[in-house]
């Protein structure tokens, strides 16, 4: 047993998955297994059918009874195929074990776990007490799965036999006069023959699947108990470590190292190409135009169609519709009868339409109600860029306070007071929709959009000065501060209203 050649993936499976694996094995080796089942069976089948010509059911019964025997050759061959050997049918037949065949043909004939137990007899060659003990170990939790394998495969056999019969019946013309049943409902001789043949075919077609499912269950149990998957993986690991230690590996490594250094030298020389400012700008432009940086936008818009072209097309009104309506007019009586129904159809359509309308109203009631209701007023923010802009936080005379602070050397406080007082006034008086997410420049843009030239001019100057101080730590001169204070009094103090 050479696990390296194992043809199935050894891993822990549930019993049901093992059955599926068995079906895959049967699928893969199907032809060989079918032949292996048929080769010993066919000669006997021919002889038996010749003997029991008048009652082929007896032949069928004998062949069916000998099933445990027919199953041995496919199982034996599969066990060799499993380890990647391709045994010939004749040579396998010669070495086919006949051990313990009598119990299997008599008191174990109806064992519900035949396919699962078979490998112990056929492949391990155990009998008597040794076999019993081995089966006790193997059976474990899989008895019910083995039983369902037997059951389903038996049903499949029946299904296939009757299905073949029905198919034959479907496709034989009546003129041939083949009758499966006589007038009393019993099978005729032709019927018996056909059923027997169909059953033999079904038996040999299902046999590989049934045998392999049981075999796979047995394999699964052994993989579990003997940890085949672990052995395979350990062998791989040991093999890898061994080959790493042999000196043969050193040579490629040396070549690799030298190869790397060799390749590194010329690459560095050609890497830098001098570009002056203009040519590189050109180059950048060129690259930006290229496919990687280019942008394509798909724009969808409504536009008027060219009506002239459309009109031409519409003139070709399909002839058959005209014909249809003319024909409708022609058959008046029939049409009159329909008008009663038409009223009902009309009512139905109106009801459906009303229902649809109601549904749509209900479905889109959210967006619709939002359309109708007035949009709620956005609340003005209380804090912008960390500055408190509520009117309550401001002193009564802002410019004077600012100049006082400036005189005391608290330049930052002075300018920030001026700036946040402006923001506060702008929110209060002009109802500008500042949001907490806006930046200083965006606020200035909003003021500009409001449209008062002098105010926006002043606010922009203030913003710039504030930004320079706040982020750039650059103090404005005394003059600038005084002019800003004057500007504040002019543009924003409450007295201007």
């Amino acid at each position: 047993m050479d696990l390296d050649k194992l043809q199935v993936n050894a891993c822990i499976r549930s019993g049901w998955q093992a059955l599926d694996l068995g079906f895959l094995m049967a699928r893969a080796w199907w032809r060989l297994l079918c032949i292996a089942g048929l080769v010993p069976m066919l000669p006997l089948a021919i002889v038996l059918l010749a003997i029991f010509f008048d009652s082929p059911f007896w032949a069928l019964l004998v062949l069916w009874w000998l099933k445990p025997f027919w199953e041995r050759l496919p199982l034996f061959i599969a066990s060799r195929m499993l380890f990647d050997e391709a045994p010939g049918i004749w040579s396998s037949m010669k070495s086919l074990p006949l051990k313990d065949i009598l119990p299997w043909l008599f008191w174990r004939r109806f064992s519900p776990q035949r396919a699962f137990d078979n490998p112990v007899t056929v492949l391990e060659g155990l009998k008597g007490a040794a076999r019993r003990q081995r089966l006790r170990v193997l059976h474990g939790k899989y008895s019910d799965v083995a039983l369902s394998n037997q059951f389903v495969c038996f049903l499949c056999e029946l299904l296939l036999a009757f299905g073949l019969l029905v198919l034959f019946d479907f496709f034989t013309p009546d003129v041939l006069g083949i009758r499966f049943y006589d007038t009393f409902g019993d099978l005729t001789l032709a019927g018996e023959w056909l059923f027997s043949l169909a059953a033999i075919i079904a038996m040999s077609l299902v046999m590989p699947f049934h045998t392999m499912a049981g075999f796979a269950l047995y394999l699964n149990r052994r993989i579990e108990l003997e940890a085949w998957d672990i052995e395979i993986s350990f062998r791989n690991l040991a093999e890898r470590k061994r080959s790493l230690q042999t000196p043969a590996r050193i040579l490629p490594a040396v070549v690799l190292v030298f190869g790397l250094f060799g390749a590194g030298v010329p690459g560095s020389a050609e890497a830098v190409i001098e570009h002056d400012r203009e040519s590189s700008a050109e180059l950048i432009e060129q690259i930006l135009q290229g496919k990687d940086f280019g942008q394509e936008r798909e724009v969808r818009k409504w536009r008027f169609k060219d009506m002239d072209e459309e009109a031409e097309e519409e003139e070709s009104f399909p002839e058959w519709i005209i014909d249809f309506f003319e024909w409708l007019e022609g058959s008046q009586g029939w049409w009159q009868g329909l008008s009663g129904i038409a009223v009902w159809v009309k009512i139905l359509l109106v009801v459906l339409f009303a229902g649809l309308l109601l549904y749509l109203l209900r479905r889109y009631r959210g967006p619709l109600s939002r359309l109708i209701r007035e949009r709620p007023k956005e609340t003005a923010p209380e804090v912008l860029f960390g500055l408190d802009v509520t009117p309550e936080s401001l002193p009564p005379d802002v410019p004077q306070q600012a100049i006082r602070l400036w005189g005391e050397g608290a330049c930052r406080e002075a300018l920030s007071l001026l700036y946040r007082a402006s923001l506060s006034r702008l929110i209060e008086r002009y109802e500008l929709a500042f949001r907490a997410s806006h930046t200083e420049a965006e606020c200035a843009a909003l003021v500009r959009a409001h449209g008062i030239e002098s105010l926006s001019e002043y606010f922009w100057q203030l913003t710039q000065t504030w930004r320079r101080l706040a982020y750039g730590h650059r103090l404005p001169s005394d003059d600038v501060l005084h002019s800003l204070c004057d500007g504040w009094a002019r543009e924003l103090s409450s007295g201007t209203e």
């Binding site: 043809q7 199935v8 993936n9 822990i12 499976r13 549930s14 049901w16 998955q17 059955l19 599926d20 694996l21 079906f23 895959l24 094995m25 699928r27 893969a28 369902s148 394998n149 389903v152 049903l155 499949c156 299904l159 296939l160 009757f162 299905g163 029905v166 198919l167 479907f170 699947f209 499912a213 579990e224 108990l225 003997e226 940890a227 998957d229 672990i230 052995e231 993986s233 350990f234 062998r235 690991l237 040991a238 470590k241 061994r242």
Partner: protein
């Protein structure tokens, strides 16, 4: 290499795996569903007797019969994670062949084509179709692009005895780590001589003999499991 495993590579370069399920579990799941449907239909039949079987009741019954026969699997597959009650009992589930959840469209196609698989007698065509491809798809599955996979949870690892963890002396690949962990976790099911055999394979790596080898591998396995 024969395996029931089905693999899909999704765009992120990640491999998804599932175990496809063959005819035997599916036949049992179908039988359970058949029984459930039968019970529902008989109950409906009795329920429609008061309405008059030859009139209104018969009509209503036939409509329900139609709906149950054709939509029973579709409803369960779409709204119950691809599992009809029978499939749930056997831990199998219907899924699209890219391993995304089954949708109304694919489920409808798969179940409407049941009739084709049913021909000529009780799913004979379906059985042959299932055995003709390695994913066990019947004709309806092929048309819809669906699979039946196993969704039963893997067995919980066995309880571990107290093992003193030990850091490995050489770096090991993920597959090797997994097999050493398996060796530790499955050791209660393995006989002592078999464990010695397995440990002996790695003698060149562990440089330990006999029972010492087993213990060494167990300790490394515990380390890989995160015991410190």
């Amino acid at each position: 290499m024969l395996d029931t495993r089905y693999r899909v590579e999704i765009p992120g370069g990640i491999h998804l795996e599932a175990q496809v399920v063959g005819p035997i579990p599916r036949a049992f799941a179908y039988a359970i569903d058949l029984i459930i449907r039968g019970i529902i239909i008989v109950a409906l039949w009795f329920a429609s007797i008061p309405l008059g079987l030859s009139g209104m009741g018969g009509g209503v019954f036939l409509i329900f019969l139609f709906v149950i026969e054709w939509l029973y699997p579709v409803l369960f597959e779409v709204f119950a994670r691809g599992q009809t009650p029978g499939k749930k009992m056997f831990g199998i589930s219907v899924i699209n062949d890219d391993l995304s959840p089954v949708t109304l469209g694919t489920s409808l196609v798969r179940n409407l084509l049941r009739t084709v698989d049913f021909l000529p007698l009780f799913y004979l065509v379906g059985l042959v179709a299932m055995l003709s491809n390695r994913r066990f798809q019947r004709l309806g599955d092929m048309a819809a692009g669906t699979l039946v996979i196993s969704v039963r949870e893997a067995a919980r690892p066995a309880a571990m005895e107290e093992v003193q963890p030990l850091a490995p002396s050489t770096p090991l690949s993920r597959a090797d780590q997994t097999s050493i962990i398996n060796f530790l976790q499955r050791s209660p099911q393995l006989s002592r001589p078999r464990q010695q055999e397995l440990a002996a394979i790695l003698e060149g790596v562990t440089h330990e003999k006999g029972d010492n080898g087993i213990e060494y591998l167990h300790r490394i396995g515990a380390w890989f499991l995160g015991v410190r």
